[in-house]
């Protein structure tokens, strides 16, 4: 595609943020990835980039922003917790944002996540206008409750571009729930980059929930760096969207650092959901756990790519990865690929990817108890990804996640039957 629109739009503006011009230049130099690019083999980058660039010249009317603000405000009750950050079309909304005690939010001159900026969509994120924000928690501060981050879109042509750094000082802890919404506006696109920096013994629980409309595009990228004994735990629920691409890259740079990555993706119709994860075991005695589960029906397609890279000297690495998938239609597809690269000794690495159907014995067991076949299949489908959701310890949030999953299972009304 032609990237000159991007350049023209850029030139029409003021000088821009630090790194913005460089990102644009890098993007113009590299062009957009094709299917030959290993990272974008199964997901087409061009339509995503086209939408993002078109959104540049298509400013959202103020009335739509006001309406979006009103919708988020109306739902604010469901975001009850320690506080919330609200982005509408990628712009922080001061009127709805409430920072919890112990959390600071600042504009930063340092470009967020320059590490991931070799990727086209991350470059677009860095080249387009918008502020770099840093969310900070001081050392030894444990923030109680959940900090919600709401990514809302105002119009079908809206682009929600967010660049956020999350920085936890030593021994700080925080729980974040990101909600990607489009409130029934039909289409739109999210393109978010979150850079996580966890200092020594800091803990971040990150939950990401989305049930976007079938027309919405979503690209998210997390670049996380963990120091000694720091801990990151993520649960990602993808229940909607037309094309979804999530990159989750974690560097375990300090001994004793640990990451737990869990995800559920549910594809219906022609949805396309792509999860790319990468863990770099840089320091010794680091642990990674990964469990992503997919349920694909109709003509939907799932992509899972899980890379584990054990660096030289990262002895005592303990990595386990699992990616079971349920294919519920002959036309659904999953491309799953574990990748291990190991340059250290004394390493434990386990991985397993499976693709299967509903377990016949379990189905017979439920039916023999009088449960009709359709309900039994729904129950087993739900139960399949249930284990991932139990990783969300906050009840309100877990129930919200369970509901997202249940809503994606056609005619499923037996939510009370779950454990």
């Amino acid at each position: 595609m032609n990237l000159s629109a991007l350049e023209q739009a850029f030139d029409a503006r003021e000088a821009g943020r630090a790194g913005q011009r460089e990102a644009l230049d890098a993007l113009l130099a590299s062009g957009l990835p094709t299917r030959k690019s290993e990272l974008w083999k199964y997901t087409k980058a061009a339509p995503l980039a086209e939408f993002a660039i078109a959104a540049l010249t298509d400013a959202t009317p103020a009335a739509d922003i006001d309406a979006a603000r009103a919708r988020v405000a109306q739902r604010a009750d469901t975001f009850e917790g320690a506080g919330r950050l609200v982005f509408i079309d990628g712009v922080l909304d001061d009127t709805l944002t409430r920072l919890p005690e112990g959390v600071r939010l600042e504009a930063t001159r340092t470009p967020v996540a320059s590490k991931g900026a070799d990727d086209a969509l991350a470059l677009i994120n860095a080249a387009l206008p918008g502020a770099d924000l840093a969310l900070q928690v001081d050392q030894d501060v444990s923030v109680n409750g959940v900090l919600h981050i709401v990514h809302a879109l105002a119009a079908p042509s809206s682009l929600g571009q967010v660049r956020l750094a999350v920085e936890l000082a030593p021994r700080a802890s925080l729980t974040i729930a990101e909600h990607f919404a489009n409130d029934g506006i039909g289409a739109g696109m999210h393109n978010t980059v979150v850079a996580v920096q966890l200092a020594e013994a800091a803990t971040l629980h990150l939950r990401r929930l989305q049930a976007l409309s079938a027309e919405t595009l979503q690209v998210t990228r997390i670049e996380a760096t963990l120091a000694d004994n720091a801990s990151l735990d993520t649960v990602t629920v993808d229940a909607g969207g037309k094309t979804v691409r999530n990159d989750l890259n974690v560097r375990l740079e300090g001994p004793g650092a640990r990451v737990d990555m869990r995800g559920v993706y549910l594809g219906n119709d022609k949805q396309h959901i792509d999860n790319h994860t990468r863990v770099d075991h840089v320091a010794r005695d680091t642990i990674s756990r990964e469990d992503y589960r997919g349920i694909l029906r109709d003509r939907s397609r799932g992509v899972f790519n899980g890379k584990v890279f054990v660096h030289k000297g990262a002895d005592g690495t303990d990595a386990a990865q699992s990616n079971p998938n349920l294919l519920l239609s002959d036309h659904a597809e999953i491309d799953t690929k574990p990748e291990l690269e190991i340059y250290a000794d004394d390493v434990k690495c386990a991985h397993g990817a499976t693709v299967g159907q509903i377990d016949e014995t379990s189905l017979f067991y439920l039916r023999s108890r009088g449960i009709d076949e359709a309900t039994a299949i729904q129950l087993l489908t739900y139960a399949f990804c249930r284990e991932v959701l139990t990783g969300i310890e906050n009840d309100v949030l877990r129930i919200a996640a369970e509901q997202l999953v249940a809503d994606q299972i056609p005619d499923f009304s037996a939510l009370e039957l779950i454990a």
Partner: protein, 252 residues
């Protein structure tokens, strides 16, 4: 009319004929024990009657109260009053024991034209029945059979049976893997359910279970057919002498 009437039943699994002309008539109020050597078709019989897909019926009939059992889906058989206590109960993490059982009970009640049971009444009932099975009430909050020991799973089967109050109880080697204490509890659970309206078909490998659940009839199943029937003394004789003499007499 017999409650369960099986006539010349033939069934196969994975292309191999297992049942080869089995006939059996069970009246309400009776307990029938099906014994026999390994591979004789005992479990196949229980699974075919419950409607498991893997088994293909190639000839013969089975009726429950005169209705064609083999024409029903597994859930319809459950609604009609058939219950299979599994030899290997399945673990289903993510599906809650309590809610499964309540849904099962309501499905059965609905089929009988009765109203559904409220959550409160159900919990009362479940607690009372669990106590009889010496089960920890904490099981109710767990996934179906999730993390249960072999013995706990078998108790759970009989517990479910006691809640659902089926008309025809099929027990597929419910005694296997049980220590003597658990066996007594399971047997007491079964005995408490004995009634003039209900029948039991116990598939078992060992006579031991029959010390605690006294059968009205004992049948020896071998080569896919019942080759000998008798009263409970037949089980004792099998225990003492093994199966060879029955097989030889049948062959003669």
């Amino acid at each position: 009319m017999a409650l369960l009437d099986i006539n010349d039943l033939h069934a196969r699994v994975a292309g191999t004929d297992i049942l080869k002309g089995l006939s059996l008539s069970v009246n309400a109020g009776e307990v029938h024990a099906i014994m026999g050597p390994n591979g004789s078709g005992k479990s196949t019989l229980a699974n075919v009657l419950a409607g498991r897909d893997d088994y293909e019926v190639t000839a013969g009939s089975a009726t429950l109260d005169g209705a064609d059992l083999l024409d029903m889906e597994p859930e319809e058989r459950a609604h009609a009053g058939v219950f299979l206590a599994f030899q290997y109960p399945v673990e289903i993490p993510g599906v809650n024991n309590t809610y499964l059982l309540r849904a099962a009970l309501n499905a059965v009640r609905e089929a009988r034209g009765e109203d559904g049971i409220s959550a409160v009444d159900f919990m009362k009932l479940a607690r009372q029945k669990m106590k009889a099975m010496e089960m920890d009430a904490g099981f109710l909050n767990r996934g179906v059979n999730e993390g249960f020991s072999g013995g706990e799973k078998k108790r759970n089967e009989v517990f479910q049976m006691s809640v659902l109050e089926p008309r025809l109880c099929l027990l597929d080697e419910t005694d296997s893997g049980l220590d003597i204490d658990a066996l007594k509890v399971v047997a007491e659970g079964v005995n408490a359910l004995r009634s003039p309206d209900r029948a039991f078909v116990l598939v078992t490998h060992y006579q031991r279970l029959l010390d605690y659940i006294e059968p009205d009839f004992v049948h020896v199943l071998a080569g896919g057919r019942i080759i000998r029937s008798g009263d409970k003394s037949l089980a004792l004789e099998l225990e003492a002498r093994g199966y060879d003499w029955v097989l030889e007499e049948a062959a003669a």
